[in-house]
């Protein structure tokens, strides 16, 4: 009888699994995704417009010399609605805000903006959360401060509350220097 080599395949696959998860367990846990990208340049990307009225967003747009707020949000996210007035306040305070819409549909985005106001100068559609993951964001909403050279200087996790507005404006000012 020839030894049936294929009977060993299940074991081989299992060993592969064990190696994979062991390496996963050994890696330090990144519970705090927060600071990982702070101080680093934004990775290259180009997102198509989320709605036809506004341009999309690419990493080049974040390197035009002016610091910006990059808001990661979605029309299906309820905290994003709560956050909308604060974004308006930030805009009124002189901040330029660009948006990344996560796993969204154009008509939903348009409806959201019609109802909650539109503080954005650009909105890119991130249908697969690809950019979101690249910049180290793990949920919506999150707001990044990006300086004029495309370096991330601050990451705010969760919705922006009224008390965060002055702090974010200050961070923007710091980023300008």
């Amino acid at each position: 009888m020839i030894r049936r080599w294929y009977l060993w395949l299940p074991l081989l696959a299992f060993v592969g699994f064990v190696v994979l998860v062991t390496s996963g367990l050994m890696r330090p846990m990144e519970r705090e995704v927060v600071s990982r990208m702070v101080g680093k340049p934004i990775p290259g990307f180009a997102l198509k417009p989320a709605i036809s009225e506004l341009p999309g967003l690419s990493s080049a747009d974040l390197e035009d010399g002016r610091p910006k707020l990059m808001n990661i949000w979605a029309s299906w996210c309820l905290p994003c609605i709560a956050e909308a007035p604060q974004l308006e306040a930030l805009k009124a305070g002189g901040a330029e805000i660009v948006g990344v819409a996560i796993r969204d549909k154009p008509e939903d985005v348009a409806r959201f903006l019609a109802q909650n106001g539109n503080p954005y100068s650009r909105i890119g559609a991130d249908d697969l959360s690809a950019v979101q993951l690249e910049i180290g964001s793990s949920g919506v909403p999150e707001t990044f401060v990006v300086d004029g050279d495309g370096i991330i200087t601050y990451q705010h996790i969760g919705d922006v509350r009224a008390e965060h507005v002055p702090m974010l404006l200050e961070k923007l000012e710091d980023a300008a220097q």
Binding site: R4, P10, V18, L25, L78, F112, L133
Partner: protein, 648 residues
């Protein structure tokens, strides 16, 4: 005192598992040895002791004994009794104890009852069961002692995660555990049969009720879990391909394949090595699921009880059991004699196809679940979601559904394609007709259209095995198969309909405002505060009327629990026979308006109704098999008695 009693019982149970292992191994080597009669009683007593330990834990939770660390961390004296009790297993330590208890009880049951197999196979099976059990006892006693006392008792407990304070969820984890444990028994049987070279139809018959039972519980567990995610998380979806959900789906897929292959082995003595393999895989999947959920290697929306150290422990157990089992398989499967032969167009052929497709779907889900882990090893972060899972799983699901619709019409061993050509053509027309109709009438996606078309054909096809039969004399197992297959069609219809016809609306409303969602007119009457036993909430009063009919009231809430402090959205549902209206209240906006999110989801309850039908089918089948076994047992005893009488 109670806690110490529980702990002592647990240690004793572990010791008996050790004894069971030694006795089992010894008597496999030396069938007439001194220890041969010990394994079965050891299994029974072990079951009793583990059950006693679990009862003690329930007692501690019922009393809210705050000197016990686990109770203090997870309970609260103000909690309703049912949630105090469910708190006993709503945490890592307690749920592991529940697992061990059910496993020990199952071991006791086979030790006490199962007499069909050669004794040496039973000894090997009981030894395997004890070996698996020992790992879990070690886990429990060495790193997750549920009975640990606090040095100084606290004045009040820390509460239970408010999201988990829900009747559906109180019974969701135990349901899954019953399933996992059933698969562990199947695993023990498979190894016992492989080690003693007894891969026979009798082995399949002994294993089948456990596989069926496990499969029923897994089906119910997944159905309940999906419904929980649907109405509790308030996102309006019913399946997210989240790692935790996948972890519960994979054992189900393996168990479904096993269920079918074990039937082939029992009826036709074919698919021997394959059935053994599936027995090992099904249990691996349940352990792997537990590992993925508990270890936190994968980030999940409902990652609870994450602890890398415990993850490592489970991984070691996984390595020992699964690695060991697969090694034995590789060494031994070659010696398993080839079973009976059959042609491609036969009942066996259709079942093999089903098995291959189910395995492929399992692989698709497994790869998708682990892929982020793989890319992370190379420093790339990705998220795998519905755009991958839905179409790729569909590639294998659709052919499987097609064969499922006609397969039960085929005869065992060999059959002509001609005999089923009429129903096959009829069902194909059915698919095409529905597909054309839906495409014409709606703008549903391709997958949704295919889903609706296949659901219709499968619903018809699943009933065909009953055609021309005397329904009263049809075996229960056949009724079970028909019901389960029909349930799959119903669930599929619900899924496809939800995807094709759902209407969603997001509004900011003031009291008095009216809005329309599909056929519904909804008025916000007012918003008022309400209070529960351990929460306060803002509750919206919605008046909804379907096509101008009489109004019903929906009261979604935005709840704040005060121990621990946490906000959750309680959705409100209005169910009609043809769908559900789903309402969630969001946060307030400064001008006094309130966010409301409303969905009209036609036929969405069919998803869970179908799931329940599938489980019911399994249950009918189980009852049918068990009564047939009992009858056979009774007849055999009677004839043995008669023979004795004749000799006298």
């Amino acid at each position: 005192m109670i806690a110490e009693l529980g702990l002592a019982a647990l240690w004793l149970a572990a010791a008996l598992a050790g004894l069971q292992l030694i006795a089992g191994v010894q008597s496999v080597r030396q069938p007439d040895g001194p220890l041969a009669s010990l394994a079965r009683p050891a299994a029974v007593i072990q079951g009793v002791l583990a059950a006693f330990a679990f009862l003690m834990l329930l007692w501690l939770f019922a009393q809210t004994d705050l000197s016990v660390k686990l109770v203090a961390a997870n309970s609260h004296s103000a909690k309703p009794m049912i949630f105090k009790l469910s708190g006993a297993w709503g945490n890592h330590e307690g749920s592991m104890l529940l697992w061990v208890t059910v496993m020990a009880l199952a071991g006791g049951l086979i030790g006490y009852l199962e007499r069909r197999l050669p004794e040496v196979t039973m000894q090997a099976t009981l030894a395997t069961q004890a070996f698996v059990g020992l790992g879990f006892y070690a886990f429990l006693l060495l790193s997750s002692n549920p009975f640990e006392r606090l040095a100084t008792p606290v004045a009040e407990g820390m509460g239970l995660n408010p999201l988990l304070q829900d009747i559906g969820l109180a019974f969701h984890p135990p349901t899954l555990y019953f399933g996992y444990v059933g698969l562990s028994v199947a695993f023990s049987f498979a190894l016992g049969a492989l080690l003693t070279r007894q891969v026979t139809p009798n082995f399949a018959r002994a294993m089948r009720p456990w596989v069926l039972g496990a499969w029923i519980f897994l089906t119910l567990g997944i159905t309940a879990g999906s419904y929980w995610a649907y109405y509790e998380l308030g996102w309006g979806g019913w399946w997210f391909w989240d790692p935790v959900e996948n972890a519960s789906l994979m054992p189900w897929l393996a168990a479904t394949a096993l269920l079918h292959s074990v039937s082939v082995l029992a009826a036709r003595d074919a698919l021997r090595a394959w059935t053994i393999m599936l027995g090992v895989v099904a249990f691996s999947m349940s352990m792997m699921g537990t590992f993925l959920v508990r270890s936190g290697v994968l980030t999940s929306v409902h990652a609870f009880a994450v602890d890398p150290e415990r993850g490592t422990f489970i991984l070691v157990l996984l390595g020992i059991y699964i690695g060991g089992a697969l090694t034995i398989f590789a060494l031994r499967a070659g010696t398993v004699q080839e079973g009976e032969r059959f042609t491609a167009t036969s009942r066996e052929g259709a079942l093999v196809f089903n098995n291959v497709m189910l395995s492929a779907i399992l692989a698709v889900v497994l790869v998708g679940t682990l892929y982020p882990l793989l890319t992370e090893a190379f420093g790339i972060r990705v998220s795998v979601g519905p755009p991958y899972f839905n179409p790729v799983a569909a590639i294998f699901t659709l052919p499987m559904l097609a064969v499922m619709a006609v397969g039960p019409l085929l005869r065992w061993r060999r059959d002509g394609a001609k005999r089923i050509s009429k129903p096959a053509v009829f069902l194909t027309i059915c698919v095409l007709l529905v597909a054309v109709l839906v495409t014409y009438l709606s703008n549903a996606s391709l997958l949704a259209i295919l889903g609706l078309a296949f659901a219709a054909a499968l619903a018809v096809g699943s009933l065909l095995p009953l055609r021309g039969r005397n329904l009263l004399r049809t075996p229960l197992a056949t009724w079970g198969m028909v019901t389960a297959h029909f349930g799959i069609a119903v669930a599929l219809f619900g899924m496809a309909s939800e995807s094709a016809f759902s209407i969603e609306k997001l509004v900011a409303a003031r009291p008095g405002d009216m809005t329309e969602v599909g056929p519904w007119k909804i008025t916000l009457d007012g918003i008022e505060p309400v209070a529960g036993p351990n929460w306060t909430a803002l509750q919206a009063d919605l008046r909804a009327s379907y096509k101008g009919g009489s109004a019903i009231t929906l009261q979604p809430q935005s709840r704040t629990f005060w121990s621990p402090e946490r906000e959750t959205a309680e959705s409100a549902l209005a169910a009609r026979w043809n769908g559900q209206l789903y309402a969630v209240m969001g946060s307030g906006i400064e001008d006094g308006r309130r966010q409301l999110r409303l969905w009209w989801k036609p036929f969405v309850p069919m998803i869970w109704f179908g799931g329940i039908l599938v489980a019911l089918g399994g249950f009918l089948s189980l009852i049918g098999r068990l009564t047939a076994d009992l009858k056979r047992h009774y007849v055999r005893r009677r004839s043995a008695e008669r023979r004795e009488d004749a000799q006298v």
